[in-house]
């Protein structure tokens, strides 16, 4: 089976934001760290969710988590061994 990987290249800003959110930051504290408004954080997350075709933060996390595994070179898939 194939995981229909989207072309997910992240902008620098998105990468930074995701790293902060993954570390447990809230939108507000992440915004402070990045020197942007909480509203901008919401916008960035929203656009990322649109690109990945997901509707909420949980799904966004799932998608990013799955993609990380799927991209990992040389790591056999844990189910059935499909190199995507």
């Amino acid at each position: 089976m194939e995981i229909g990987l989207r072309d997910i290249t992240l902008l620098e800003r998105e990468r930074e934001l995701i790293a902060l959110l993954a570390a447990g930051h809230t939108d507000v504290t992440a915004a402070e760290r990045l020197g942007i408004s909480p509203r901008s954080v919401t916008t960035i997350v929203r656009s990322l969710m649109d690109r990945l075709g997901v509707q909420n933060r949980f799904q966004l996390g799932l998608a990013l988590g799955v993609l990380r595994m799927a991209h990992a070179p040389g790591v056999p898939s844990d189910r059935g061994g499909d190199p995507s």
């Binding site: 997910i8 992240l10 075709g53 996390g61 189910r79």
Partner: protein, 386 residues
């Protein structure tokens, strides 16, 4: 376009398990994943102060995990360093040694055998210090052959058997034990009676803290059996002496650190016991939790799996609850417990962890292997690769 590819590397085993600091581990992974970097480059990449990067690199270098090459004025990234004479623009570039070479080396370093002589000396230093402070530990430590009850606060237990019998007497009703184990392995008899004592302690709800040394021969990547929650374990490369403290009112230490068969000394002198408990706390505070960094397999219960699959499809707590015929409150509680277990604080983090272990997958990214591919659940803004 200034898009940077999401940096994703091969799985790098955690170096923390072999005694590296968290910073060193992070820097090492970064070097493995992204290739050679300067210290400042690492600082930028990891959003960490360069001072911390320097410490991590020093640690990694001492462990032989990284190499550094100095180039005179890298054409790719010429950078003026303050404090250096003009013209001597030199850039140190750090590179990781491959994990398959680094990990065994760290493992050997960490799993060295405990130096029994050093342990005996450390034991004597502890006892001497106590004696100097308190003048309470009289004969038994130097002349264990005397035996018997020396005074009401220091009792000599001549043999290991006597010690075990006395230990069994002391256990009932205890609420807390503090143990330091310098042994890397236990003989069969100790293991058997130890397990029996532990069963009794667990049954009466005693909290046990055990400070030990890394085992000599165990696959440290595998955390093994989950521990009973009554235990808390920590490991340090060096421990000061063999010690058991019960309820901070009785302490047991070997009478002769060189000859365990000479039995134990039971101490109930409040000052001495207090000092020994303090010694335990001091070493405990600097020891590490062997479970941290070990790869604990994550398994989901049937209900958790069903719930996670529904949420992955985009269900809300309420609609998922309807599907599962449970209350929305049960959904929240189930997720809360799962998040606690995985050590995450919010739904985004929960998703990341579950995605990384492929517990579920959002529909638009593909479908779990067993199910037929489903169409996109909503219009997407980009083409699917499939």
């Amino acid at each position: 376009m200034t898009a940077a590819a999401l940096a994703i590397g091969a799985a790098v085993p955690s170096l923390v398990r072999w005694g590296a600091s968290a910073d060193a581990d992070l820097v090492y992974r970064t070097l493995v994943t992204l290739g050679p970097h300067t210290r400042r480059g690492l600082g930028t990449q990891l959003m960490m102060p360069v001072a911390r990067i320097d410490e991590a690199l020093a640690e990694l270098r001492a462990a032989g995990a990284v190499t550094v090459s100095v180039t005179g004025g890298l054409p790719a990234a010429p950078r003026m360093r303050f404090g250096e004479p003009a013209g001597a623009r030199r850039t140190a570039v750090w590179a990781a040694r491959p994990p398959e070479r680094v990990v065994p080396a760290l493992r050997r370093r960490r799993l060295r055998l405990v130096d029994l002589q050093a342990l005996a000396e450390s034991h004597r230093r502890v006892v001497q210090r106590l004696r100097a402070q308190l003048d309470a530990l009289a004969l038994p430590l130097t002349a264990p052959a005397l035996g018997g009850l020396l005074d009401e606060q220091v009792r000599y237990l001549r043999t290991r058997e006597l010690t075990r019998a006395r230990y069994a007497e002391l256990l009932p009703g205890r609420r807390e034990t503090l143990t330091i184990n310098p042994e890397q392995a236990f003989d069969a008899e100790s293991a058997r009676t130890g397990a029996e004592f532990d069963r009794r302690l667990i049954a009466q709800g005693t909290r046990m803290r055990i400070l030990g040394v890394p085992p000599a021969d165990q696959d440290t990547l595998n955390p093994g059996e989950p521990l009973h929650p009554a235990y808390r374990l920590r490991e340090a490369p060096q421990v000061p002496l063999k010690l058991i403290v019960l309820d901070r009112s009785v302490a047991l230490v070997p009478a002769d650190p060189d000859r365990i068969e000479r039995g134990y000394v039971e101490i109930s002198h409040p000052g001495v016991v207090h000092a020994l408990a303090g010694l335990f706390e001091q070493h405990w505070a600097h020891a590490s939790d062997p479970q941290v960094g070990a790869v604990t397999p994550i398994t989901l219960s049937a209900r958790e799996q069903a719930l996670v699959s529904l949420l992955a499809l985009g269900h809300t707590d309420v609609t998922a609850a309807g599907h599962l015929r449970i209350s929305a409150r049960s959904v929240t509680n189930t997720l809360r417990r799962l998040m606690d277990r995985l050590g995450v604080e919010n739904r985004f983090q929960l998703g990341l962890v579950l995605g990384a272990i492929r517990a579920a997958c959002p529909p638009d990214l593909g479908t779990p292997p067993a199910a037929p591919p489903s169409g996109p659940s909503q219009p997407s803004h980009q083409d699917r690769k499939s």
